[in-house]
């Protein structure tokens, strides 16, 4: 672990490069199906970043998909029943996920170790069951005909319409960048160092005046807020929600994507894992959906044995390997 090693210029350059690549992606691949794939990649990377941020505090969450669902359903219902604009829905989706994260975080985050993995898994299942059984949330059929993003008028210079994957991609990329920069700043601040102290020795941290639960809840809420926000984004982007798409298996996939990216950096690990894995997944889905399961399973086993710190540690590992030989 590199506690004090900070190299802001490097990271800023990488950020700039990533920013340009992300903005140019749909221009380079102007095929709507490809852009749809990049949107799935972005959604996955926000979830993976959140998972890594929760891992920073030494907690294992297997329930990130629940917050995706909460954000999506909140925004969908607000826009359908109360007529609230999807633009505000994005915010409300995040806020509702954050509030629920605050509530359950205060209860769950006291639990240590593998118990937490089970209980978050159970929470995700409860959320899915509530959405799929209560009529208010549309039951098994889910919610259909969710309003799309309304056009924005540019004060007499025409309007920007959001009816194609291309324009929606830029909404998502904005969310991805905001959450990425936010979590990166969080990770590389005093707050981030406090987070890292918790898994190492929580009792020692407590004796130094750190309130473990407070910091755990901060990290948990941040991760869940952004998960809820992308959840709201997907609801309006696809225009429909099915409870079946929020199965707990999805949370496992989030963990695999995040692990593949690597915990060395919250933002970069999440982005790398999310984009890489979903691209391969999309390719495999076209061949046979059963390969996806085998692919994810094989990749996580391989990465656990060969590259336990994820792909981000690949350059260091290569350097180490060279020094040895």
């Amino acid at each position: 672990m590199n506690f004090t090693k900070r190299n802001p210029i490097d990271s800023r350059l990488i950020f700039l490069g990533l920013f340009i690549v992300l903005v140019l992606l749909p221009v380079l691949f102007p095929n709507p199906a490809r852009v749809g794939m990049f949107i799935s990649c972005g959604v996955a990377s926000v979830l993976a970043m959140g998972w890594l941020l929760i891992l920073r505090i030494g907690c294992l969450s297997l329930g990130q998909v629940a917050f995706l669902a909460i954000g999506g359903y909140t925004s969908a219902i607000l826009s359908q029943k109360l007529g609230i604009s999807p633009w505000f829905g994005l915010l409300f989706g995040g806020i509702s996920a954050g509030l629920i994260a605050l509530g359950i975080g205060l209860i769950f985050l006291r639990i240590r170790g593998l118990y937490l993995a089970i209980i978050t898994f159970a929470f995700a299942e409860i959320v899915r069951l509530v959405f799929s059984t209560l009529e208010f949330f549309g039951g098994h059929g889910g919610i259909l005909e969710i309003p799309k993003y309304p056009p924005i008028s540019l004060l007499g210079r025409g309007t920007v319409r959001f009816d194609s994957p291309f324009s929606c991609y830029y909404i998502l990329i904005t969310i991805v960048l905001i959450s990425g920069i936010f979590m990166w700043r969080m990770d590389h601040s005093a707050l981030g160092r406090t987070f890292r102290s918790l898994p190492q020795n929580e009792d020692l941290a407590e004796s130094l005046g750190i309130h473990p639960l407070r910091y755990k809840v901060i990290s948990f809420i941040t991760a869940c807020f952004f998960a809820g926000m992308v959840g709201a984004f997907t609801a309006h982007y696809y225009g429909c929600l099915y409870p079946g798409s929020y199965s707990p298996m999805h949370s496992v996939i989030v963990q695999i994507q995040a692990t593949v990216g690597g915990a060395a950096s919250v933002a970069f690990g999440g982005l790398l894992g999310g984009f890489l894995m979903v691209m391969v997944e999309t390719f495999l889905l076209n061949v046979d959906s059963r390969w996806v399961l085998i692919f994810y399973g094989a990749v996580i086993i391989l990465i656990t044995f060969v590259l336990p710190e994820g792909l981000l540690s690949l350059p260091q590992e290569i350097k180490k390997f060279r020094q040895k030989t």
Binding site: I107, F123, L129, T133, I256
Partner: protein, 288 residues
């Protein structure tokens, strides 16, 4: 009366199913200190082996069950030898990720072999029997009896034999157990194999009652893990107690309230965690 007795029997079948899985999981947790997410897929593998041998090839049902137990036991041994043992000294996330991967790969392989559709094995015991003024199906009674026998067998093995004593010692304190000359590695292999065999048995014996498909392993293991956690990780008595509790609450709830009852059973589980964070009969384990 008949309704009530049938409900009671159905609850017992569900509980027995859960308990058999939870027993294996809690043993694995106590000795291997890992959450065996692959347990559900081992259970389904057992069911599919019986389906392939008994239904598709026409083999005797009991012989098929026996073969399923051997195959799945071997599979469990393979998982322990290749995944869990090498990762034993690493952080918990590593073993958790790898075992999730194993379960996904096995699920994918099953889906390739048997296609993704629901299949049923079909009944092997038919007829009904009248007991205390109620008409009950022989098959369900047989399931409960057989599961009970296995349960007693495993419990006796843990409580009465020398190996069982070694297992309990190892669960309590691995370092001291090592000092007494207990072969940790052998016990690990033994526990994993035993748990897999019991899971295969549960899959083989209960699936004639339900439909099976390759993807239901996740849901099954998740329920079993919840039971293990509620009972207290590593506690055998706790698992039996929690299995009965959750089985009955869920079965009665679904009968009278419909699918929303599952939410109630989850809320109950969370309430138990609030007051007893280590489960009903749990002891504290050290994690690293």
């Amino acid at each position: 009366m008949t309704d009530l007795m049938q409900l009671f029997l159905n609850c017992l079948v569900l509980s027995a199913n859960y308990i058999l899985l939870a027993l294996g999981l809690t043993l694995i947790f106590g000795i291997l200190r890992a959450l065996n997410f692959a347990h559900g897929v081992l259970y389904i593998t057992g069911a599919y082996v019986v389906y392939a041998l008994a239904k598709l090839m026409g083999m005797n049902y009991f012989l098929a069950t026996f073969i399923a137990m051997i195959i799945v036991g071997g599979l469990g041994l393979l998982i322990e030898a290749s995944i869990l043992y090498p990762l034993a000294d690493r952080v918990k996330v590593a073993a958790l990720g790898a075992i999730l991967g194993v379960s996904m790969v096995l699920e994918g392989v099953l889906a390739f072999i048997f296609e993704g559709e629901d299949v049923t094995i079909g009944s092997f015991f038919t007829g009904t029997v009248s007991m205390v003024g109620a008409t009950l199906s022989v098959e369900r009674i047989m399931v409960v009896v057989l599961c009970g026998l296995i349960m007693v067998g495993v419990y006796g093995w843990i409580q009465k034999t020398k190996q069982g004593m070694a297992i309990r010692a190892l669960a309590e304190n691995p370092r001291v157990a090592n000092l007494q000359g207990i072969n940790t590695r052998l016990i690990r292999f033994l526990v994993m194999t035993m748990a897999s065999v019991v899971a295969a048995f549960a899959g083989a014996i209960v699936t004639p009652l339900f439909y099976i498909n390759p993807f239901m392993g996740g849901h099954v293991v998740f329920k079993a893990l919840l039971i293990v956690a509620v009972g207290g990780m590593g506690s055998i008595e706790g698992s039996i107690l929690a299995g009965l509790l959750i089985g009955f609450v869920e079965c009665i709830g679904v009968t009278y309230l419909g699918p929303i009852a599952e939410v109630i059973s989850f809320l109950m589980v969370i309430a138990i965690f609030l007051f007893r964070p280590r489960g009903l009969l749990g002891v504290e384990y050290e994690f690293h």
